[in-house]
C-alpha cells in the first residue's frame, strides 16, 4: 500500500495530495458554514479564495524578493513552474494579512470566521501527512517493532502513517461535532490537539532538528503552542463563566 502511494504520488506529484486535501477541507468548511449560519456564506467563500490566491502569489513573490540577487540574474524564473521557488511561511503570512483585511472590510467576525476555517486547516494536516508519506520525508527513527517500514535499507517507524492517523482523528473531531458555544473554541481545540499530536509524534521521527544537545526543536515549539492554546481556552471558559 505504502509502495503504491509512493509510486503514484512520487515527487513532484505529491503536491496533488495537498491540493486534494485543500479542496476537501474547503468543501467541508463551506458545508459547515451553510449549516450553522453564523457568518455570511458568500463572504466566507471569497475570504477563502483571496486567502489562497494571496498564499500562492505571496509565497512566490516574497520568495523572489527574499532571493532578489538570484532572480535579478534571471527574471523569467519568477514564472517558473518549480514549486521549490516558493516560501510557504511567507505565503502563509501574505494569506493571513489578506484575509484579515478582507474580513475587516466585510465585517466578518474574527473568532467565528477562524472557527469556520478550522476544518480546512484540519484537512490540510491530513494532506500534509500524506504528502510526507509520498515524498518519503518526515521519516521515522529506527525501530525493531513489527510494523516498522523499510526506508533505504533500515526499518523505521512509519512516522508519516502516525501523522496521518492523528490528523484524521483531529479532522473527525472538528468536522463531525456540532457548533461549540464559545467563539474561538473550535480553532483553539484544533490548535491544542494538533500541537499535542506533534509533540508526541516528534519523538518517533528520525529527522528532528536538535537543540541544547539532544532536545527536539519541534517538540519545544509544539509545547509552547499547546500552552498558548490551553491558556486561551481557559480564558474563553473564564469569560463565559463571568458572562453567565
Amino acid at each position: 500500500m505504502i509502495e503504491v502511494i509512493q509510486s503514484w504520488f512520487a515527487p513532484p506529484r505529491h503536491t496533488i495530495l495537498l491540493v486534494l486535501a485543500l479542496w476537501f477541507g474547503w468543501w467541508l468548511a463551506e458545508k459547515i458554514v451553510k449549516r450553522e449560519q453564523k457568518i455570511n456564506e458568500a463572504a466566507f467563500s471569497n475570504l477563502t479564495f483571496y486567502g489562497l490566491l494571496a498564499f500562492v502569489l505571496g509565497g512566490r513573490i516574497l520568495y523572489a524578493l527574499d532571493n532578489l540577487a538570484a532572480f535579478m540574474s534571471s527574471p523569467a524564473s519568477i514564472f517558473s513552474p518549480n514549486p521549490q521557488l516558493f516560501d510557504p511561511f511567507l505565503g502563509g503570512a501574505a494569506a493571513v494579512v489578506t484575509m484579515l483585511v478582507y474580513g475587516q472590510r466585510n465585517k466578518l467576525p474574527f473568532w467565528p470566521t477562524l472557527d469556520a476555517l478550522t476544518p480546512l486547516f484540519a484537512a490540510l494536516m491530513v494532506g500534509l501527512g500524506a504528502a510526507h508519506l509520498a515524498e518519503g520525508s518526515a521519516f521515522g527513527k529506527e525501530t525493531s517493532l513489527p510494523w516498522g517500514i523499510d526506508v533505504n535499507g533500515l526499518t523505521r517507524h512509519p512516522s508519516q502513517i502516525y501523522e496521518i492517523v492523528l490528523a484524521f482523528f483531529v479532522l473527525n473531531l472538528i468536522g463531525t461535532r456540532g457548533p461549540l458555544p464559545r467563539a474561538g473554541a473550535q480553532f483553539l481545540t484544533f490548535l491544542a490537539w494538533t500541537s499535542a499530536a506533534r509533540l508526541f509524534l516528534e519523538a518517533f521521527r528520525g529527522d528532528s532538528v536538535l537543540v541544547f544537545g539532544s532536545l527536539r526543536l519541534a517538540q519545544i515549539l509544539s509545547w509552547v503552542v499547546l500552552a498558548f492554546a490551553l491558556f486561551a481556552l481557559n480564558r474563553l471558559q473564564s469569560t463565559q463563566s463571568v458572562a453567565n
Partner: protein, 179 residues
C-alpha cells in the same frame, strides 16, 4: 469546574515537558547525516564512475566542495532545457568551490549521442557515464532529470525530481550548499 479544568491543563503541559525530556535524542536516533540515502538530510551515497575522458571520479573524494549531482539523458526534454542554466551557474560558481557531476543514465541512453549533445549545449562540467546503473540504483532514480544538491560535508541539502530547473532555483540552492 474552572479550577478542575486548570489543573487538567497544567497536568497536560507537565506531561508534555516530561515527554520532551524522556524522548530526547541522546543516542543520535536522528540521522544527523550519517546514513547514506538519496534524501535530504542524509549522507549522499558514494559512487565511482568513469568520465567521458576515461578518468574515474569518486564522489567522496570531493568532500569539502559543494556538489550538484544531476542525472540526465540525451533524449529527455527537461534535461535538455535545464542544461544551459546548469552551465551558466557552473561557470559563475566553480571558482567558489562548486562541482557539477552530470551523470548520464547511459543504461537507458545512447553513449554515442553524448559528445554531440555536449557540443550543442557547450557543456564544460564533468559528464560521468552510468553504464551499469550504479548511480541510478544508489540514488533510486525514478524520473529524469533528478538533481541532488550536496553540501561540503557530504550531506544532501535538497533533492529536485523532474525539471527543468529555473536558473534562480539553481542559484538559491548553490548559495545554500556553498555556505
Amino acid at each position: 469546574m474552572q479550577s478542575k479544568q486548570r489543573i487538567f491543563y497544567a497536568v497536560i503541559l507537565a506531561l508534555g515537558l516530561v515527554w520532551i525530556f524522556v524522548s530526547a535524542d541522546r543516542d543520535g536516533a536522528s540521522t544527523n547525516g550519517l546514513i547514506p540515502a538519496p534524501r535530504a538530510g542524509f549522507l549522499a551515497p558514494d559512487f565511482t564512475l568513469e568520465t567521458m575522458d576515461g578518468d574515474m571520479v569518486k564522489l567522496s573524494d570531493l568532500r569539502g566542495q559543494a556538489v550538484i549531482v544531476n542525472l540526465w539523458a540525451t533524449w529527455c526534454p527537461p534535461c535538455k532545457a535545464e542544461m544551459p542554466a546548469l552551465q551558466k551557474v557552473y561557470e559563475e560558481y566553480k571558482s567558489r568551490g562548486l562541482v557539477i557531476l552530470a551523470i548520464n543514465s547511459t543504461v537507458q541512453d545512447d553513449a554515442q549521442a553524448i559528445p554531440a549533445f555536449l557540443a550543442e549545449y557547450g557543456l564544460t562540467f564533468p559528464v560521468l557515464l552510468d553504464v551499469n546503473n550504479e548511480a541510478g540504483r544508489l540514488y533510486q532514480l525514478r524520473s529524469l532529470p533528478s538533481t541532488f544538491f550536496i553540501r561540503r560535508d557530504g550531506t544532501i541539502s535538497e533533492v529536485v525530481i523532474g525539471g527543468p530547473m529555473a536558473e534562480a532555483l539553481l542559484r538559491t540552492r548553490v548559495e545554500e550548499i556553498l555556505k
